[in-house]
């Protein structure tokens, strides 16, 4: 651990001697904001980052579902296309983890989509039983999501070559449909029930009698107005920043740092089990896409960078207030991304070492740097 960073991050306690009184009349008001018109920034964030990402994920969920249907019709084609579709869908999901608020949290879709660790005991028990494998059956077991599918279709980072048993195939079909439905629900609760035109989504919702509870885009776009949970536009911006800080922390301290710490304690077997996405060896890509989630959020669009940042982005706002900090944030994002990509592949077989430490430190740096944006409040 980089001690200097650590102490920078601590709450600072000063001791002062000689104060005799405080003038309460001098206390500041509390509507602390950034003093910036964020309307366009928020709209761009919702449309070009969040909805763009979730729409992509929704489409990729359909593709994965259809790939499984093809496999079901003719298992001899093998699982290569299914595995490729799984990896492709994983990209927008990991790139959405900078905004795991809203429907992902409120409807508990994050654990439903991406629960880890995988409950292999229950999964195997169900497969070995003779119960009917259905959406309801896997719902009641809570064994579903990306990693259930991953376990069924991958072996040591490659598409599984042995044929699935009939019951494994039934589970794969049900789990893929469940994942697809969760993804549709996630997307739909950002766009709102009245804005759904995708016929495949509408058909799935009709079949499953699914209700759409939120229009979370409106919550953001109406920030500061009646009906929004965000009392001000600055509160909405804080939510975006907190989402980025949150995933930077999770990648550094948990996704990489957790197995790293366990491995350093000498428990290598348990450490490997802690590595998310280790059946597919997709872990490093997952983490890098998490950092891209932060990059997209900060620069105002999918694929945006410091060089191509939207004029309506948090980056543009930070630049207007403190150009040096904007460069610092951009550098911290790129450093974290590069440090993760530099880790030796696959992560599950290389849990310790200087490159891993560098990635953990870079994520910690990114957290600290993102937090500095809040010092720009009036």
């Amino acid at each position: 651990m980089n001690k200097s960073k650590f102490f920078l991050g601590m709450a600072v306690v000063f001791t002062a001697v000689g104060f005799t009184a405080c003038d309460k009349s001098g206390t500041e008001g509390t509507e602390d904001g950034y003093g910036y018109d964020f309307k366009a920034v928020i709209n761009t964030y919702v449309d070009d980052v969040v909805l763009n990402t979730y729409t992509d994920m929704k489409d990729k969920a359909t593709i994965l579902y259809e790939a499984v249907e093809v496999y079901k019709a003719n298992p001899s084609v093998g699982l290569t296309n299914v595995c490729a579709a799984w990896r492709t869908m994983r990209i927008p999901w990991e790139q959405s983890e900078g905004f795991l608020f809203g429907p992902a949290a409120l409807l508990s879709l994050d654990p439903s989509l991406d629960s880890w660790p995988l409950d292999k005991t229950q999964l195997q028990s169900i497969i070995d039983s003779n119960i009917e494998i259905s959406l309801d059956a896997i719902a009641s077991s809570n064994v579903h999501g990306f990693h259930t599918i991953e376990y069924l279709i991958f072996k040591d980072g490659e598409p599984r070559t042995t044929a699935l048993t009939d019951r494994e195939l039934k589970y794969l079909i049900a789990a893929t449909e469940y994942l697809r439905n969760d993804t549709y629900l996630l997307w739909a609760n950002w766009v709102g029930a009245s804005n759904i035109t995708d016929t495949k989504v509408l058909a799935a919702f009709k079949e499953n009698e699914t209700d759409v509870k939120y229009n979370f885009s409106e919550q953001f776009k109406k920030a500061g107005a009646a009906g929004s949970i965000f009392l001000s536009e600055s509160d909405a911006i804080d939510q975006i920043i907190d989402g980025c800080i949150d995933i930077a922390s999770e990648v550094g301290a948990q996704k990489i740092g957790g197995p790293n710490a366990t491995a350093k304690q000498g428990n290598l077997e348990q450490a490997v089990l802690d590595v998310e996405s280790w059946y597919s060896w997709n872990s490093t890509d997952d983490y890098a896409n998490n950092i891209i989630s932060i990059r997209n959020s900060y620069f105002g669009g999918r694929g945006k960078t410091a060089a191509t940042a939207s004029a309506n982005s948090i980056s543009a706002f930070v630049k207007s207030k403190n150009a040096g900090l904007n460069i610092e944030v951009g550098t911290a994002i790129e450093t974290a991304y590069e440090a993760i990509k530099a880790m030796t592949y696959p992560f599950r077989n290389n849990l310790t070492g200087a490159k891993v430490d560098a990635a953990i430190d870079a994520c910690g740096d990114l957290e600290l740097t993102l937090a500095k944006i809040k010092t720009l409040k009036d």
């Binding site: 991050g9 509390t30 602390d32 949290a105 508990s108 169900i126 209700d211 949150d246 957790g258 957290e367």
Partner: protein
């Protein structure tokens, strides 16, 4: 999957300046607290003294207090992970195994996402639903004793191979009322039913069902650190015959010791129930509760004893995590409508039970494995609750007793953080079973000792009622 946030690198919530002088006038007399932007915090903002965090996002309940640094942060993160990570049925996994065979949630965080109140299927599916549900149903016989085959809590979830104990369902009847100024409001009253009993069916007339939705995990450490002498004084003072108010303490006796209950809807807990939660809610055994929660049930043969599935040391990390969560600062305390609403809160005498200011004791509290937390001591806090039991009238009588609390008696809910519930948890369901769908309905459900305040609120103008809600949203 999101597991936690705020690594050991970050701590941005506040800066604390200790002022060593006589006459300093912040609420916590020797401290001035700076916000992230360097401004001095208004004392009214400081919900929990040195544990206040300036956060209004979805993570407002789930952020460490500013004093959590260094090795304390390591423990916070370890506890946070255990709180959030799903348990799995694998009995051999030393870190995450042990779920079930009967359970209610698959992690603490499954019901308390971001330390808040996950939206239960009680509302989305009318009861237990098809998967994880997220509400608790306490059950007992009409005479208050428990059913041998079921125990205290209905476990509506089970790992594969075991049947859930039963399934809860709810139906609601709605009645519309009117404020004197003509504005309408309605209240929905639930009727609960349990079906699909795994064993003996219990006739509805023999059964008491008391449903609870998850509590906000706000200020848990401070609640454990409350000054017992102050609570005793409050109980003695809580006698306002002119308003029909007379609060009392719930006294908990565990392992031959008596404690003042402060936790839970009926102040029925004197600790943060980490051990109980792992056992009863998740089905994870410990030294304190070494037997599976369904031990003795005929269907549990083969699952009845797998040894200890979580250590006391690990559970203490969860205890630490809960105790060291920051309490969100109040917002917009100088806003004119908020101030008007605060005045109206006092005019309606809400503050007689929702007491704004209390203090924590000087002795550091001890966690369940003996760790002491001096940071919670000697703080001036603003929980907006007295932690006493009050008769809330027949409409809220669940008939379920908890210690000294009768079915109609409920602990005054501490209101700190309530204004952020919609942000954190996405809904404004209030009261023990979430029957109140918004702030106004929660107020209008007050009866018994709360009836006078309800009537005073009811007679206010719409503008004044709205101001009260605006004030509550600032907490």
């Amino acid at each position: 999957m999101r597991i936690k946030h705020y690594s050991k690198y970050i701590q941005l919530s506040v800066v604390v300046l200790c002022i060593m002088a006589i006459g300093a006038c912040s609420d916590n007399a020797d401290e001035i607290i700076l916000k992230p932007n360097g401004k001095v915090a208004d004392p009214a903002e400081l919900s929990a003294g040195n544990s206040t965090v300036f956060m209004s996002s979805v993570f407002a309940y789930d952020t460490p207090a500013p004093w959590v640094t260094g090795s304390l942060m390591d423990r916070f993160l370890a506890g946070d992970k255990l709180y959030d990570d799903p348990r799995i049925a694998n009995q051999d996994d030393p870190l995450q195994g042990g779920l079930g065979p009967l359970y209610v949630g698959f992690s603490c965080g499954s019901c308390h996402k971001n330390a808040g109140r996950s939206y239960p299927t009680l509302f989305s599916e009318g009861g237990s639903g098809t998967g994880f549900s997220g509400q608790l149903a306490f059950i007992c016989k009409q005479n208050g004793t428990f059913f041998r085959e079921y125990g205290r809590v209905l476990h509506d979830q089970a790992i594969f191979g075991t049947k859930p104990e039963g399934r809860l369902s709810a139906t609601y009847t709605e009645k519309t009322y009117e404020f004197p100024d003509g504005e309408k409001y309605s209240l929905v009253k639930p009727t609960y039913k349990i079906t699909e009993w795994y064993s003996d069916s219990i006739a509805p007339e023999d059964l008491i069902i008391d449903v609870r939705i998850p509590l906000r995990h706000v200020g848990m450490g401070q609640i454990m650190a409350l000054d017992p002498d102050e609570l005793k004084q409050l109980a003695a003072l809580s006698n306002y015959p002119e308003y029909g108010i007379s609060g009392k303490m719930n006294i908990i006796t565990e392992r031959n010791k008596s404690f003042i209950g402060t936790g839970g809807n009926k102040a029925q807990h004197a600790d943060l129930t980490v051990e109980l939660g792992f056992s009863s809610d998740l089905g994870v055994t410990s030294d304190r509760f070494p037997l599976e929660v369904g031990y003795g049930q005929s269907q549990q043969i083969g699952f009845s004893h797998y040894g200890i599935q979580i250590s006391t040391r690990d559970m203490e990390n969860v205890d630490f995590y809960l105790s060291s969560l920051g309490v969100p600062a109040r917002r917009n305390v100088n806003n004119a409508v908020v101030k008007k609403g605060e005045e109206n809160f006092y005019k309606a005498k809400c503050q007689l039970c929702h007491i704004p200011t209390l203090h924590t004791k000087q002795d550091p509290i001890a966690l369940l494995n003996g760790t002491r937390l001096p940071w919670l001591s000697g703080q001036t806090i603003h929980p907006y609750g007295d932690f006493l039991l009050h008769d809330m009238g027949p409409g809220l009588d669940s008939h379920y007793r908890s210690g000294l609390a009768a079915g109609y008696e409920w602990r005054t809910t501490p209101l700190w953080g309530i204004g952020l519930q919609e942000t954190v948890s996405g809904h404004t369901r209030f009261l023990h079973d979430g029957r109140a769908r918004n702030y106004v309905e929660a107020i209008m459900w007050h009866d018994g000792e709360g009836a006078v305040s309800r009537e005073l609120f009811k007679r206010m103008s719409k503008e004044d009622r709205d101001a009260v809600v605006t004030f509550l949203r600032s907490l």
